[in-house]
């Protein structure tokens, strides 16, 4: 199956604000095959959540979405009817959110919320749905699963709630799962556990996964592809090996700092911090958005920036190698 499950070309998101249009996401491209895992990394505010919500059709009112192409298994999502989108959401594409504490409805039991998607999308009995819920709760490592069904969200810890959210997203065995920083709100000690679990279940069900995370150790372990996002743009995308071995965009190198290798980066390694100010995205955005922080910035960086493509590995910089080699010399 060479046809990608998800194919996104030139996705752009504009948010009207009091002081002008906020160009929150600008012309991003990526694709994903069945069973593949794409990790999106980038600082907060770079547009990762907006991008995932745009895929799900869950953007807030007023946010304008446009794309040359945004297909899910051949269905164009930008022109799909709300009914069509509803049929996909929760069934063939599911999402896990960043905030486990507030993402469950306080008025209903875990059981009711787990079976909801299955009952909405499939013709199954309530009993069968509950059996499936128990099965999945056990899969996500929740003990006494049967008795959890009648509990309410407030009776569960954050870690348990996020496990429930994962089970909930898996109820219909989706082909694509989007996990937006699923462990950021959780205790450090269980973060790796939950991500591992999510990844293993994804493999088991052959799901395509978009994982948004700050944990480079996790990225190195689970990603097939990596997309690096900065201020609303994908500054660099490529197979995980290329990104870690030959990080070409200066921003990517800033994040990786010591250029870790797959399998060698310690678990829990956080993104590097880069000094400088992120430019405002309100109004016209021209040239390279990273130039306010880039150590290699020159006058030409204010103009049009070419896209450098080498197979699946792509980045945007006026320098053909993103000044990768000169940095190597410096550190050598």
């Amino acid at each position: 199956m060479s046809e990608p499950l998800l194919d996104v070309r030139n996705l752009t998101l504009d948010i009207p604000t009091g002081s002008g249009t906020l160009h929150a996401v600008r012309g991003i491209d990526f694709d994903l095959k069945r069973g593949e895992t794409l990790c999106i990394v980038g600082e907060s505010g770079s547009g990762k959540s907006l991008t995932s919500l745009a895929l799900m059709g869950l953007l807030g009112k007023g946010i304008k979405r446009s794309a040359d192409r945004m297909t899910f298994d051949g269905t164009e999502l930008t022109t799909a009817s709300t009914r069509r989108m509803r049929a996909l959401r929760g069934d063939r594409m599911a999402m896990i959110f960043q905030e486990p504490m507030t993402s469950l409805n306080p008025a209903y039991t875990i059981g009711d919320q787990l079976v909801e998607a299955l009952l909405l999308h499939r013709k199954v009995s309530r009993q069968a749905a509950r059996a499936r819920a128990v099965e999945l709760l056990e899969k996500v490592g929740i003990t006494a699963a049967e008795s959890r069904l009648s509990q309410y969200p407030h009776q569960l810890s954050g870690g348990l709630r996020q496990r429930v959210m994962i089970a909930m997203a898996l109820m219909c065995e989706p082909e694509l799962i989007i996990a937006d920083e699923p462990t950021t709100a959780l205790d450090v000690t269980i973060q790796a556990q939950i991500l591992r679990l999510l990844y293993d279940l994804g493999r088991e069900m052959n799901m395509a996964m978009i994982l948004i995370t700050h944990d480079l150790g996790v990225v190195a372990r689970v990603a097939d592809k990596v997309a690096v996002m900065y201020a609303g743009e994908l500054v660099e995308t490529g197979p995980v090996g290329d990104i870690f071995n030959a990080p070409s965009h200066p921003y990517t190198r800033g994040l990786l700092r010591c250029i870790p290798l797959p399998g060698k980066t310690a678990r829990g390694s956080q993104l590097g911090t880069i000094p400088g100010i992120v430019p405002s995205l309100v109004g016209e955005v021209e040239g390279c958005v990273f130039r306010t922080r880039c150590p290699h910035a020159v006058m030409e960086c204010r103009g049009a920036i070419p896209k450098r493509q080498d197979g699946e590995h792509a980045f945007r910089c006026i320098f053909p190698d993103g000044k990768r080699h000169s940095e190597k010399e410096l550190t050598a």
Partner: protein
């Protein structure tokens, strides 16, 4: 949950006792009851005779205990004015007031909740503006003024509805609207604010991510949470309405308990006033308690918290 209810119940009983004592002592605060009873022309001896006859010469606490035990049995003494048992006097009036109260709160809920929901779905839309106008007008316009306008328009000019009395259900239409309109603004605003808050919450996004349709999102997921404080408010307002409809009852000449209270105060008919104050406060206490219980029942976090 049980512990919570028992706690609230204990509090309610405590408040009820306090209120009953206050309403009892009204008898003494408003002057010498024996003198009032004996009449303006009575001599000092007559007043003393009345005092002994009615037992006003005994210690106050004894009288209170006696009065309370009688009241608990439904015996509120005899009306100074009608020379009839207060209980039978009130019973008949109370049914009018209760009918009005139930109709009023129902009308308020049936208009305020849908309006609040629609206003929250489309903030700043025409419907939202109309809802805001209706609620501001409802708060600014005195009930008697609104009642009189209705009477002039629908009873006098159009002749569609009877202006006053309690003979048929049609007599209750305008009073219901006036009383309901009084309660409506608060319910509407609480519904709107609650819905706005809930609709922007993460769990609504979760519901949408599951593929739930808008109707399901709005009613099953959002309203179910937004309505919790509204139910409590409505219960408290109901408690208010059962005692506070004096104005409405007067305008439409509904001979209800509120109207009776007003008349009895004017007539210095203390036993009746006492009994009504006690009953009105009990309504209020019962409905406040009910509001707490409903709140706990609707909100799982309260149930086990």
């Amino acid at each position: 949950m049980l512990q919570f209810i028992l706690k609230r119940l204990g509090l309610a009983v405590l408040v009820a006792f306090t209120v009953s004592f206050i309403s009892f002592s009204l008898l003494f605060l408003s002057g010498d009851p024996a003198a009032a009873l004996a009449g303006e022309t009575a001599s000092g001896e007559d007043i003393e005779a009345v005092r002994r006859l009615y037992g006003f010469d005994r210690p106050m606490l004894v009288q209170y205990a006696e009065w309370l035990t009688a009241a608990l049995r439904g015996d509120f003494g005899e009306s100074y004015y009608f020379r009839l048992p207060v209980s039978s006097l009130i019973a008949e009036r109370l049914s009018v007031t209760m009918t009005l109260g139930v109709c009023g709160i129902t009308f308020a809920l049936l208009t305020a909740v849908p309006l609040g929901v629609v206003a929250a779905i489309r903030p700043n839309s025409l419907v939202d503006r109309i809802a805001l106008f209706v609620s501001v007008a409802g708060q600014a316009m005195p009930s008697f003024w609104f009642g009189l306008i209705l009477i002039v328009v629908f009873a006098i000019q159009l002749g569609w509805l009877p202006p006053s009395g309690t003979a048929s259900w049609e007599h209750f239409i305008m009073p219901t609207i006036v009383l309901g309109y009084y309660a409506m603004p608060a319910i509407m605003r609480l519904t709107r604010a609650g819905m706005l808050d809930v609709l922007s919450s993460d769990y609504i996004r979760t519901a949408r991510a599951k593929g739930a349709n808008e109707r399901r999102v709005l009613f099953r997921h959002a309203l179910r949470n937004a309505i919790i404080p509204v139910v409590s408010l409505a219960a408290v307002q109901m408690g208010f309405m059962l005692g506070g409809s004096i104005v409405v009852e007067s305008i439409f000449a509904l001979h209800g308990a509120g109207y009776l209270a007003w008349e009895s105060i004017a007539r210095n008919d203390l036993p009746t006033v006492q009994a009504l104050i006690l009953i009105f406060s009990m309504f209020y206490i019962v409905f406040t308690f009910l509001a707490d219980v409903l709140n706990a029942w609707l909100d799982p976090r309260m149930r086990t918290g």
